[in-house]
């Protein structure tokens, strides 16, 4: 049994949130106005029409702004058109 597998099983048994397992980002979006991303690592690209975040997430839209940024999360506001995952 691998190390990650055991951790996953324990978390599943305790009904813990999945994002704790593999540090994947958790996103909360309010309509198409804003997205709040937790567990991000860094900003890779910041442009008016696209914001790329290190966990292979791209957010496309118009007039995108970073309204808030802390070590825990990033709040992106603007007219959001698409959220894309690259793998």
């Amino acid at each position: 049994m691998e190390k990650g597998e055991l951790k996953g099983k324990i978390l599943k048994a305790l009904e813990m949130p999945a994002e704790l397992l593999n540090n994947c980002p958790r996103m909360t979006s309010v309509g198409n106005e804003s997205v709040f991303i937790e567990n991000y690592k860094a900003i890779i690209e910041y442009d008016k029409n696209v914001i790329r975040i290190s966990n292979n997430i791209s957010i496309f839209g118009e007039n995108l702004n970073v309204a808030e940024i802390t070590t825990d999360g990033i709040l992106i506001s603007g007219k959001i058109k698409a959220i894309e995952f690259e793998s």
Binding site: A42, Y46, D47, N65, V66, A67, E68, I69, T71
Partner: protein
């Protein structure tokens, strides 16, 4: 959110523009070093604008060196920046706060005392009573104990029934209600005479207590004793009583009027001539011919001073002289008309001298006719109650 905004405003924050090729890296480095930034806006390629706390400003300078970007301050917001901006005007702010403090301190005291109410006590007496209780202009409001003031004044003054205090800002309104003492007859029960206060003939005299001094038909003058309070007898000592009586006198009032048969009556013809002059200091400029064609006229001069803005008088006067023409007509009235008019006027004059409570019994007219005038004397005969109590001094 609101709390954070308030905190940021009180601590002060800076709007910063960063220009460089690696702005993303700049943001990431800020995050790594726990520098809080917010409201990040992308301006153009390679230019971002964000807000940062005052205390973090020197930290981002190092980051800027690493990322090779330029930092420029766009705007400074918050109380520390305001304080820096107005440092030069600190005297103004000190004086401003002193003034507010001064107004506050002055508002703690009473600066005007208004005494209201329907009373006949001299207002200065009430003011003195209040001053005795330390209630005067300049007294601190918190030191006032209205109940105590009221109590002490009620004890001292018999004629004050009630006092109400009201404070409106720095003005105190004192309401006073007077105790209306019953109007006691001072001479009730005290030995006294009754004297006449009018000239006349005694018509009726009714004595309840006292010694009757006059009879019906006697002529009395002002000041005569009508009823005496001294009762004396041959065998007993003098005793003194408080006289009580009702006395009615016949009195007369006259009025005299003379009316001529011929009389001038002035009627205005309605023709008016206006002349204008301007007076400049002592110089007079005539604007029109000053003579008038009227034979008989009234001359009315009206001087109007010119003013600037309705306030400042100028040494220029506009003099308007208007002549109003009139005619004199001689009218004649008959003897009967003159007599009737004279009677009427004489009665009015006689009545005006009468006392209010007198009853008119009769009215008599006497006429003297001369060649030019008629003279009428009206005599009104009245019946009136008289008598004033006068203390006996013994």
């Amino acid at each position: 959110m609101f709390l954070r905004n308030t905190y940021n405003y009180t601590m002060g924050y800076v709007e910063v523009q960063v220009e460089g090729y690696f702005v993303e890296r700049f943001i990431n480095l800020c995050m790594n070093r726990n520098i809080e930034i917010w409201d990040i806006k992308r301006k153009h390629d390679g230019i971002i604008e964000f807000k940062i706390r005052n205390c973090d400003m020197n930290k981002i300078n190092k980051i800027a060196e690493v990322t090779r970007s330029n930092i420029s301050i766009v705007n400074e917001v918050g109380i520390p920046h305001l304080a820096k901006k107005y440092k030069k005007r600190r005297i103004f702010f000190i004086v401003f706060f002193c003034a507010i403090l001064g107004i506050y301190l002055l508002s703690l005291r009473i600066w005007k005392i208004e005494i209201v109410g329907d009373f006949s006590i001299p207002i200065n007496e009430i003011r003195e009573e209040l001053i005795q209780e330390d209630f005067k202009i300049g007294v601190a409001k918190k030191n006032l104990d209205f109940d105590k003031i009221k109590r002490n004044i009620y004890i001292r003054r018999n004629d004050i029934l009630w006092m109400g205090f009201e404070i409106k800002g720095t003005k105190a309104i004192v309401e006073v209600t007077e105790r209306k003492l019953p109007n006691v007859d001072e001479l009730d029960g005290v030995p006294c005479n009754i004297v006449s206060d009018k000239d006349g003939v005694v018509e009726k005299i009714l004595v309840r207590v006292g010694n009757k001094m006059v009879e019906k038909g006697d002529v009395v003058f002002k000041g005569d004793i009508l009823v005496s309070g001294v009762i004396s007898g041959e065998k007993i000592d003098d005793s003194y009583v408080s006289s009580d009586a009702e006395i009615w006198l016949k009195t007369w009032y006259t009025g005299k009027v003379s009316i001529p048969y011929e009389k001038d009556i002035i009627t205005k013809t309605g023709k008016i001539e206006n002349k204008y002059k301007i007076k400049l200091g002592n110089y007079i400029i005539n604007l029109s011919n000053n003579d008038t064609n009227f034979e008989k006229y009234d001359k009315i001069t009206n001087i109007k001073k010119l003013t600037l803005f309705g306030k400042y008088e100028l040494p220029i006067e506009l003099v308007t002289t208007s002549y109003e023409e009139y005619n004199i007509e001689e009218i004649k009235i008959t003897k009967e008309q003159a007599i009737a008019k004279a009677k009427e006027e004489a009665t009015v004059i006689a009545k005006s001298t009468m006392t209010a409570n007198a009853d008119i019994i009769d009215c008599d007219y006497k006429m003297f006719l001369t060649e030019t005038t008629v003279i009428v004397r009206a005599t009104i005969e009245c019946l009136e109650a008289v008598g004033v109590k006068e203390r006996i001094v013994y």
